[in-house]
Assembly symmetry: C2
Homo-oligomer: 409 residues x 2
């Protein structure tokens, strides 16, 4: 199952980025499972990675190479079908071998290649299949390769995810294009959320890192399917500089910087919501908006407590306006001296609870009607401050259990 | 579904405690839904309650009365079929009305009555049905009423839970008997874990409070079905003093005190495990034991991260020895500078993962055999300290989704 529109929008090229997608036969013969992303010389590339202590071999190697290459990688190499996770020291050697082979074939240094893997865990990476397919991937590099790449990075996702945003500042046009994969914060076999976002703007690496960190914080870090986080999660942001602007520097507060921040955030939020809509077994797309908190963090605490609650999620699956489970989740979110009599709860703008009880105006018919759509907004008013935050999540269905019970190591 | 032995063991009377169980027709005609527990004059009674900010009316009233009565309540009044939660100020009035009626009928003060409710939320408590049934409940009070009471406090539980432990110190015999209800940390309609434990030992109230807090911490606070906590949770410990010993005082480190601590803990752990075995949709009873932590808290963090992980729980339901999901859960438990190469993972004593990868000695056949029993022990060795902790949990099944999706507000 998946929720909402499933057509990939037009993905616009980003000058300085070429993509090649081929079939290396890593797990399934004929499936396109290897994506090569080439960044023009002079590009900057930054990343955010999983905080899981058990991180996969390619994450370790990508972090190392990113530091050595001083944020100037030239190639991102992504394979599906095998996560190269839970593979110990052999996994590190295998990830490095793939980088070495690509570096040799393209005349760059090994540190200028970043590896990414997603798929089954605990199986050795089939290095030879990957290196054998590299010449075709290199030959196929094309600026219009985004849609194929969006397909090529998928594992058990039911649909590709991608988005482009354009903007103009001072008569110059810019583009931000991104693709992502993942149908849970952790895929069944620890196989990951991956995101690749690029712009033709010129941006200094420290500024680029902050733009990515802030955008990820407002997008990928605000979604939850099941509360689990993967060992392979990674999101990369590339700035090629092909648009020809003066590079954005730290401390700038220019119209261009603000426009770029907004565009990257819009792409990341769109990709993150796309992951939730394709969440495992999802039949609802749920926005939990918490207003009136003392701090953004306490709004997030309430949002995630609701988003992680199996009781709330099973009620959503049943389209049951179960305000009691919502109140109970709010009550255990750990907010200091919460005055429950000030809290009110809305389901798709129907007031269902206030003063610690069902709203007097509320009728069961209203609640059932509010829960009928695929898209649900749960709005919580805490009435104790000015902070707000939203998180996005799905329901918990039989299909979630089926998908994750049937998927074997 | 439920896991393991379902026969209630013999529950021994506790001198000074009498119980009466009757049908008040609160929700379902003919169902025994009202339990009255009488404590002999001179008894002490202490409690631990839900930390949920949205606590139910009876929890608020029971806390107030407990303070006013100076730990000397005379009656505990428990109804099922209605949680008196999410009922606002009317709920508080209703809980007090029931206490008033019982106080009048028995000649005690209203503050000497503690109310407890469990069942559906958001419905007004049918006070008259309860007060009408009180004379029968009083007439039926009996020291041998424990088994009937264990049945009478249930809601959607599939079996009663109770346990007695006896011990002797200095030639004097003592007993601890307890009953509990609940099939999740939160029942489908916020309707609760309740526990009632009594001993005939004489114990000063501050000592009694510490014994209960410690026992709850090692039992009810170490189980999870779904991570949700109820608005009605309560566990009471009564000491009647009928055994005739010199009352235990703070600072004592007597053989009697140690024996009583052990017995109360044994009863609470047995009851807590009984709740997990009757967990909603449970097909496995899972002990997660974490050894070699720097602190007990970090062992608990790892244990609960595993116990709450939907991916681990669906794998348990499928009897899938999915070591990758276990490693991923350990890795995101937030342990500072965890050296993943020192971690090893055992499933029913089969070593399945070490050095960040599948164990070399491990075979899929071993894993499948280890996962076959209903009772599973997941043992994690962190190898970075001397602390240990265990938590108990269940798997996540289609039945969990069915039970919680079908149960309507």
């Amino acid at each position: 199952m998946a929720v909402g529109e499933d057509k990939l929008p037009a993905l616009l090229p980003v000058a300085g980025v070429r993509l090649g997608t081929v079939s290396a036969g890593i797990k399934t013969a004929g499936r396109r499972d290897l994506v090569l992303i080439e960044l023009a010389a002079g590009s900057h590339c930054v990343g955010v990675f999983t905080r899981n202590a058990f991180c996969a071999a390619p994450v370790t190697v990508a972090r190392e190479h990113l530091q050595q290459a001083n944020a100037r990688p030239r190639y991102l190499l992504v394979n599906t079908g095998n996560a190269n996770a839970g593979t110990g020291k052999q996994g590190l050697r295998d990830a490095r071998s793939c980088c070495d082979a690509l570096a040799l074939a393209t005349g760059v240094s090994s540190a200028e290649v970043l590896p990414f893997s997603t798929g089954v865990i605990g199986e050795p990476l089939p290095v030879e299949r990957i290196t054998t397919a590299l010449p075709d991937a290199i030959a196929g590099l094309d600026e219009s390769g985004w849609a194929d790449a969006a397909q090529g990075i998928l594992t058990t996702d039911t649909r590709p995810k991608g988005l482009s945003v354009t903007f103009s500042v001072d008569g110059r046009n810019y583009v931000v294009t991104g693709i992502a994969k993942g149908a849970g914060m952790i895929r069944p076999n620890m196989a990951t959320m991956l995101g690749y976002v690029a712009t033709d703007a010129a941006v200094a690496p420290d500024v680029l890192q902050k733009i990515l960190a802030d955008a990820a914080n407002l997008s990928f870090n605000r979604i939850t399917i099941d509360g689990d986080t993967s060992t392979n999660d990674a999101c990369m942001l590339v700035a090629t500089g092909a648009a020809g602007n003066e590079p954005l520097q730290a401390g700038d507060d220019s119209p261009l910087q603000r426009a770029l921040v907004d565009a990257v955030q819009e792409v990341c939020v769109g990709l993150a919501q796309g992951l939730v809509r394709d969440g495992e077994g999802a039949s609802k797309f749920v926005t939990v908006t918490v207003n009136g908190g003392r701090t953004e963090q306490e709004c997030l605490d309430v949002g995630f407590t609701i988003g992680h609650s199996p009781l709330v999620k099973t009620a959503l699956f049943a389209s049951d306006p179960n305000w009691g489970r919502l109140l109970a989740a709010i009550g255990r979110a750990g907010l200091e001296s919460l005055d429950v009599d000030r809290v009110s709860v809305f389901l798709n703008e129907v007031l269902i609870a206030e003063n610690g009880a069902r709203a007097a105006s509320y009728s069961e018919e209203q609640g059932v009607a509010a829960m009928a759509p695929e898209d649900i907004v749960i709005r919580i008013e805490l009435d104790r401050g000015d902070a707000s935050a939203s998180v996005w999540t799905t329901d918990f269905s039989y299909d979630y259990v089926r998908i994750n019970a049937e998927y074997r190591t």
